[in-house]
């Protein structure tokens, strides 16, 4: 109940920016829906995924802002006075952002579906046959998993950078940028080592064209890389939680 109440509070805090982005996305797809004609379909296909490039920026902004606003408005006193662990607070914040992201992704996916459906014949004509023959469930499934991971990574990295900058009274922006850069660099190095460490894990295979008659029709996700990606998020989550609960002062 306590975590749920904390999550609701966080959801309410980001609801304005989330709702604004949701309305903008919906307006964008309504615009594309009415503008899509055989003559414009190539341009439409070129911009149809544009919101998916905006959402990680939204997560980046939320990750940074979520604690900087608590400190600026002094509400961190309330948050740190609660009998909640750092893990619970960070999780509540992340789950609120994740829910908004899922709603945004669902809105965009619905928008894309309607725009493509309305011009299905024209789309089929301009796309190469090897693409239209794809097993889209597997491609989209993995695409969304990787996209969600990327958004989570951006969110936790921005949050950790913002929290680390709280150790300093001056140049917080600079510290945030430096930590953000450094975490990205270290993550790439660490992911390489973790990938090797978990190399024994089986790879995940998906045949995306028929039954793998040719190598190009195979998606093979490295099991070690997958484990490394999950661990990286977990490590960022744990570091932020510990910083918040045991080290950072208000």
């Amino acid at each position: 109940m306590a975590l749920l109440s904390l999550w609701k509070k966080e959801l309410r805090e980001i609801s304005f920016s989330g709702l604004t982005l949701l309305l903008l996305s919906a307006a964008f797809y309504i615009f594309l829906y009415y503008q899509a004609r055989p003559g414009t379909i190539q341009i439409i296909l070129g911009v149809i995924y544009l919101p998916f490039f905006i959402y990680p920026l939204f997560l980046l902004f939320q990750g940074y802002r979520t604690f900087s606003r608590e400190w600026r408005e002094r509400t961190i006193f309330l948050l740190k006075s609660l009998p909640r662990s750092g893990y619970e607070i960070i999780l509540a914040k992340f789950l609120a952002a994740a829910v908004v992201l899922i709603v945004l992704m669902a809105t965009s996916s619905t928008g894309i579906y309607f725009v493509i459906s309305r011009n299905f014949t024209a789309v089929n004509q301009i796309l190469p046959p090897e693409i239209t023959a794809l097993n889209w469930e597997a491609v989209l499934g993995w695409g969304l998993v990787i996209y969600f991971w990327l958004c989570g990574f951006v969110y936790f990295t921005a949050q950790l950078s913002s929290l680390t900058s709280r150790f300093f009274n001056k140049f917080r922006w600079l510290v945030t940028l430096l930590v953000f850069y450094l975490v990205n660099y270290l993550t790439i190095r660490l992911a390489g080592y973790l990938g090797l460490l978990f190399d024994w894990l089986p790879n995940v295979r998906h045949y995306v064209i028929g039954q793998a008659e040719e190598a190009a029709g195979l998606i093979e996700v490295n099991g070690g890389g997958l484990a490394a990606a999950v661990l990286i998020l977990l490590i960022l989550f744990i570091i932020s939680s510990l910083l918040l609960e045991r080290t950072l002062e208000v």
Binding site: M1, L4, S5, E73, T75, S81, P83, S85, V250
Partner: protein, 236 residues
């Protein structure tokens, strides 16, 4: 002037620096159980730092803190209520939302008591925090803290910015609360004149050190001065 007593909270050799500024310098205090302890001192004397360390919001550079028999942590945050000096409430929340939020976060929170105190303080549950004046917000902060049934209340300048009528209501309430002897209060204040009759134990803090400490009646008898006059003497 120290006397043997059971402590609800204690610090030993507590030191804290902010850059070159010494906020606390080897502070040893035992806050007596079941008493209303006043922490008195001028601005920058270290009162807020001491209370934040007790509440687990700031960490000492050196020394030890025990509050209700353990170091301040997530578990004993349920056993004490901390009221910070500054505005710490979410401005978009309504009073009733905050009451419900606190009720879900703290098992020690008494929802009906909170609504009753809100009414007694001339506040409306449907009001938003951002619509309240400074004094009204200060009153509501107190409502949230005093509505918890805990062993210890740590109140940092709870009377600052509150009108005289509400101040007397608050002080009377605090007095009633502690007449039962079940809870303890640590209260930092500048309003010595008005509230000194409620103090059981007094700690005067200056330059990060304890300047004077003792039971209020004993101090009055020993120095033949009121606490207000004694405060002026100590910090002159």
């Amino acid at each position: 002037m120290k006397e043997t007593r059971e402590a609800v909270a204690e610090t030993s050799n507590l030191s804290k620096k902010y850059g070159l500024t010494v906020a606390l310098d080897g502070v040893d205090i035992k806050f007596p159980q079941g008493e209303l302890t006043a922490l008195i001192g001028p601005n920058g004397s270290g009162k807020t730092t001491l209370l934040k360390i007790l509440a687990g919001l700031t960490y000492p550079d050196q020394g030890r803190v025990r509050i209700i028999d353990r170091a301040p942590d997530r578990i004993n945050k349920e056993k004490f209520a901390f009221l910070p000096e500054n505005d710490y409430l979410y401005s978009w929340m309504k009073l009733e939302y905050l009451i419900e939020f606190f009720a879900r976060q703290y098992t020690s929170f008494d929802r009906s008591k909170a609504y009753q105190m809100t009414k007694d303080m001339n506040l409306k549950p449907e009001q938003k925090i951002s619509d309240l004046s400074k004094g009204m917000r200060a009153r509501f902060k107190l409502v949230l803290s005093l509505s918890r049934n805990v062993q210890l209340y740590i109140l940092d300048e709870p009377l600052a910015g509150i009108d005289p009528q509400s101040r007397s209501y608050i002080l009377e309430n605090l007095n009633l609360e502690f007449a039962r002897g079940e809870s303890s209060v640590i209260l930092s204040t500048h309003e010595v004149l008005e509230s000194e009759k409620f103090f059981d134990y007094v700690i005067m803090l200056g330059d990060g050190k304890v300047q004077l400490e003792g039971y209020a009646d004993a101090l009055r008898r020993e120095y033949d001065l009121s606490l207000q006059e004694l405060t002026r003497e100590v910090f002159a």
